[in-house]
Symmetry: D2
Subunit: 408 residues, 4 copies
């Protein structure tokens, strides 16, 4: 209090921290790698580099099979998967645990696929017994593929993919399993081949720490063969030449996304060759624990505040959806962004945007290039915001977060 006449300071002046669930924070090295002159696309460093990246792209998904890359975003790879897998009139079973699962279903339906949705709500994991029963009931194997999210970015529910595959197997059903890993990729543990996944889709801007603009589809040999007869297949989405090109331009069906590729190369090096993929997963696990512990403390005695997903086993390690009660989630987000330098994610799909309840939800991302300093700082800033805004909350959240992160 030595400067009583000073204006109230703006405590956001410094490096802003973007804690929304994508795009995530880009490493300086990735941005620096993209800041370069345009390369020759016919010979030289770029083609050489790309040839060496495809094995890394397979490794990061845990597959020995195929990967096709697209200039596009998450919606683009949904369409890529849909068009390679289905013919018009085919049936897809979509297992939804949040808004993005439902959107993928819409995307398939608009293409002419017959889509059956099992909607498990916004806060609960899927009921695998019901899934198994549904598949077992499909005696004629009308269902060609099961589509689901590993993590739904909106709800932050994480699906137990090995258990889902076990349910499909137990039902004796031949449906292919396609998994949207857009939110979880490079954050939550994922082992495509070990887990029996046929199709995985992801994009560049979350755990891959590269600006939006690239998407990827990994696919099994069985899925590759499906493509041959899919009448929704288009020249641009066709994943076959992209995965096994005979000329360089085929990797991307035309001009390559030159600058993104240099960024992605750097990101893959950081993940696979420097930190190590299992260490990346373990880091996200520890960071997630600290976020969960903080919310648990804040909510103690204040049931308006709480995590969206009750059971830690079903929570994403990349993003955490939570509620604070309307309008405090919006008030807090505004404060942390404009007064303290932390941009939190809006709640998505928990209430309609014109519903006052919409202002009761938010999400904290902890995906990609995120460390103890960034995550603990974000939690401390949320605590500061609650103090500044007189939002009632339980005590001890920061100590709990620190201990959960360090002691597990």
């Amino acid at each position: 209090m030595t400067h009583p006449n000073h204006p109230k300071p703006d405590l956001s002046r410094g490096r802003p921290y973007l804690a929304i669930p994508g795009p995530s924070v880009m490493p300086d090295r990735v941005l620096a790698a993209m800041h370069r002159a345009a390369p020759n696309i016919y010979a030289g460093a770029l083609p050489d580099m790309v040839a060496q990246m495809w094995p890394d792209l397979r490794a990061v998904a845990g597959t020995a099979h195929h990967v096709a890359a697209y200039i596009g975003n998450g919606h683009a790879v949904w369409e890529a998967a849909n068009t390679n897998l289905f013919s018009r009139g085919d049936t897809a079973l979509v297992l939804a645990t949040g808004r993005f699962g439902l959107s993928w279903a819409e995307s398939a339906r608009a293409l002419g696929v017959t889509v059956e949705v099992m909607d498990f709500g916004k806060s609960s994991p899927m009921d695998l017994i019901r899934v198994q029963e549904r598949l077992a009931a499909d005696k004629g194997h009308v269902i060609k593929a099961v589509l689901t999210t590993h993590v739904d970015t909106a709800s932050s529910i994480r699906t137990d993919i090995p258990a889902l595959r076990a349910a499909i197997t137990a039902a004796g059903h031949p449906a292919l399993l396609a998994v949207d890993c857009i939110a979880s990729f490079g954050c939550d543990e994922y082992r495509m081949d070990d887990w029996g996944v046929d199709v995985t889709v992801a994009a560049s801007q979350k755990g891959l720490m590269t600006p939006p603009g690239m998407g990827f589809v990994w696919f099994s040999e069985e899925a590759r063969q499906r493509c041959a007869t899919s009448d929704l297949r288009t020249p641009y989405w066709d994943w076959r030449a992209r995965a096994q090109p005979t000329e360089f331009w085929q990797y991307w069906d035309g001009t390559a996304p030159t600058h993104h590729l240099f960024g992605l190369r750097e990101a893959l090096t950081m993940i696979l060759h420097e930190e190590g993929l299992e260490n990346v997963w373990a880091r996200h696990e520890a960071l997630a624990r600290s976020v969960w512990a903080a919310f648990q403390a804040w909510g103690t005695g204040h049931p308006r505040i709480g995590l969206n997903v009750a059971d830690p086993a079903h929570r994403s390690r990349a993003v955490t959806a939570a509620r604070l009660g309307a309008p405090d989630a919006t008030r807090l987000r505004d404060w942390t962004e404009h007064q303290a330098g932390v941009t939190l994610g809006i709640g998505l799909g928990m209430a309609a945007m014109d519903d006052p309840e919409w202002h009761g939800y938010l999400r904290v991302a902890h995906m990609g290039h995120v460390n103890a300093h960034m995550t603990l700082g974000a939690l401390a800033v949320m605590e500061a915001g609650m103090v500044a805004l007189d939002i009632p909350h339980g005590p001890g959240a920061l100590d709990a977060a620190v201990r959960a992160m360090i002691l597990g």
Copy 2:
């Protein structure tokens, strides 16, 4: 000769100049604008900026109608145009003057469109009388749209679009006119509405001076209505919500290409608000004249050397295809790249890659962020290469290039 024992110097050590027909040289300002932290995609600077860019995107194409943007490359916008315009079984008439026109035809055919190609070869403009006759013969108006290139990137032939529209009109045919401006956009004069074009496609990496990764489709009101009944339309390619979004994410059907957008903003400012679009065209005209004059001089008395397009009226102002005779084109390209810092474009589509004649062709790009220094320097380096490699050529090319550029 004061250092007789010095090794032969590598005269490429300095800033390399990439003179291939895309990606083109990116302005420092564009690269700098892309070197930034990931932005919030729900509120703030990015959505504000995008709203202000759409009018500029329309202006640069010369249309008051619609524009849809895609994360994608040139092949992506071909597919976007095809799927919005056609239903399976519809007929398209493709007018080809080089490899890229033929590829667009392939792209449509693979989607299930019935494609009729009028192929005018690799070195000649299209014969508009034949086009008019063909359309007049289509009494039943089976042909739904005419597809062509403004400039074919491979042949550097420029099509007289107003004359083509006049031919369609003279034939009394209602076909829509769709034009691929990928190579010419922001280089060669183009006036979509004035010229009666229904669909224009272009991408970011040539005249728009932004890294590969974004494509654009401009379309007339009539083309927009066509989309409603096109059964090839997919959720991702559907141009309607992209052109008239009610929520920000619809501009891109999902996550926006955040970093590219900051780069594109800078490029559009340079083109429209600083230099001025007509000045941009005039600059490309002057630079092209200098390249043409050099080849004319080199070819004098040496008929192996020459421009691909005889008539200046049908030459692109963005790229120039030429022949040097095999294997001298390849020898010269190797020398300029490795000894002098200039990467020239390969010849494309003039001969098969395994045909020795393939090594007789090259292309010089003069598209986008290119000035007198860059273009004259490239020509001087080509002269130097011919001297170093003992490639016989006519004299006075550089003086001719200088005079053609300055005096017209």
Copy 3:
């Protein structure tokens, strides 16, 4: 604990935070402004920009008088001040509250100045009564100037400059007052003219948020006149032409530090024209309070832990020196850097480097481009490190830090 077999994660993988007392964190905008082609130094944007920067440089120091800029660091501007102020054999009175005050004394002595040091130790503010007495005793006014630090970067002691000036005045002594603001500039409140300071020295790499490489000397009209007779003056250090150049090159006595200037321009705009200088001071005040509160809590019941400066009135708002007891300061610094992404400053001048006690001190910087997220995150990481390393400490530090920052 859901992944029991995961390796212990490296929680530093993310954006590192450098919390040493200089160089400080550079804003992205400053680094981006420096990433540019070399400019013409004779005409154009650079000379225009520099002419407009000098008023801003005066404003940030609170003076209407003179400023000279140097390519150099803090030691350079010490020498610049010394050589402009003194002739060989002149006497300087140096008031030291830490290692840097003593170093400035050494710097003057090595030039041939007779230096008298009043050393107030490493943890206490100066005793102004003793200063006044000393000056009053100098009846012959042998002392030409009083040299001191506003903040000594090593001890983080802040000197009450207005009170010091009052003491000089009370002693009726004509000595000039020269103040080293290297650590405090742009962080702690400072008003050169209002406070009666004759010479101020600072450098680019702390509160000015620009990479090391530029130093500045502000000087009063009386100090300017002193220069005319100073026989230590050299052509490079002479501040006269630099402050009032007739040709552009004289600003820097030769080639300008082109890239740094573009960075500094951005930093001055942020400080003066966007945030506002008083707001910058208030922000640092709030951040400092949070750091102090944390140490107070950690030290409660654990007297090994504590702030170096007992009285908040004498603490810097830019940097905080503290002790943890050897070797825990070094252990903690190692942990925060390698396990959590925060690099803290070493203790400087509190013990010899080969004394085991050296490992008992550290410094936390909160200078320049620093916000609530960065500072609270650093404190949370320190708490995490104490937990991980079993360093005994008082509870509630993070809550105390949050409340001190927000509630004052």
Copy 4:
């Protein structure tokens, strides 16, 4: 002439080329290396990197002896050399072949050194017979050191340093030889130890391809010992601890120029470990030949146009001073910068700035990161400017330049 109504184009829109004799063009890699977060200056990557740079700094000067680095420009290293070499009243013999030699003399004189200048004018190499006679006449060895420029940046005269050393030896004089290599360093062949040089000064912004802000002084063992008794020596300029530091901060007497060091590291790697120093010299030789050939052609029949230095043996390979006759040099510089993207250097020291003759001189730099494309392009643009401005000139300059570069 297909667009008769187009405005006259601005042919400078593209990447500008700065062809002034410093700062030179910075490689993208150097700028990228500087675009990074501030590093720790006490431990880690920076101290490790610096330790490995000092051998490279010695290698690039051709010495096995000492190097001291300074945050500063060319004037700073003049002062560093002066203060380490001289005591007040010592005598220096300055051999001047242009404005910068004269300025170094001024710099020494202002420090209290007795300076004797032998001024050989602005267009002629020094007369070594006169130098030898002058030294031989100094029987008492009053002259402590001979100061001269390897290349005077203003006149572009290159001094034959081995011959100068031979003249000193022949005179039997013990004076130390100090050489300003600011303009020539990393461009013109230079071998400090082989040539018997005692002190070499250079800076970062020319052949070292790094932004202005760092200077270097290399010195022999004899020069090092001289320093011990030099009473002009100051703490900041003292080269001893900088060359043989016991703590990291002593390399720079305080905070290191962190960002510049990362840039310099990249530049040294390019010069020494990628291209090779002799290849760098050979490249500059070839580029210089092309510039000379162009001026020779332009001047044929037009004696107003010509090179400043008649004998190629005495011309710099880094910069070429020339005359065009007033006001055509200024007219041409304006045209090339604003119409074609090439900024040429002003004439310096050939006429007073208020003399109309001043507008008759210019300089073309070809130093540092410069290749065939950049230099030939600059010459072509000069030809274009002469055509556009109707400046009479001889024909065939570009062909001559190409042949001189390639054929020698």
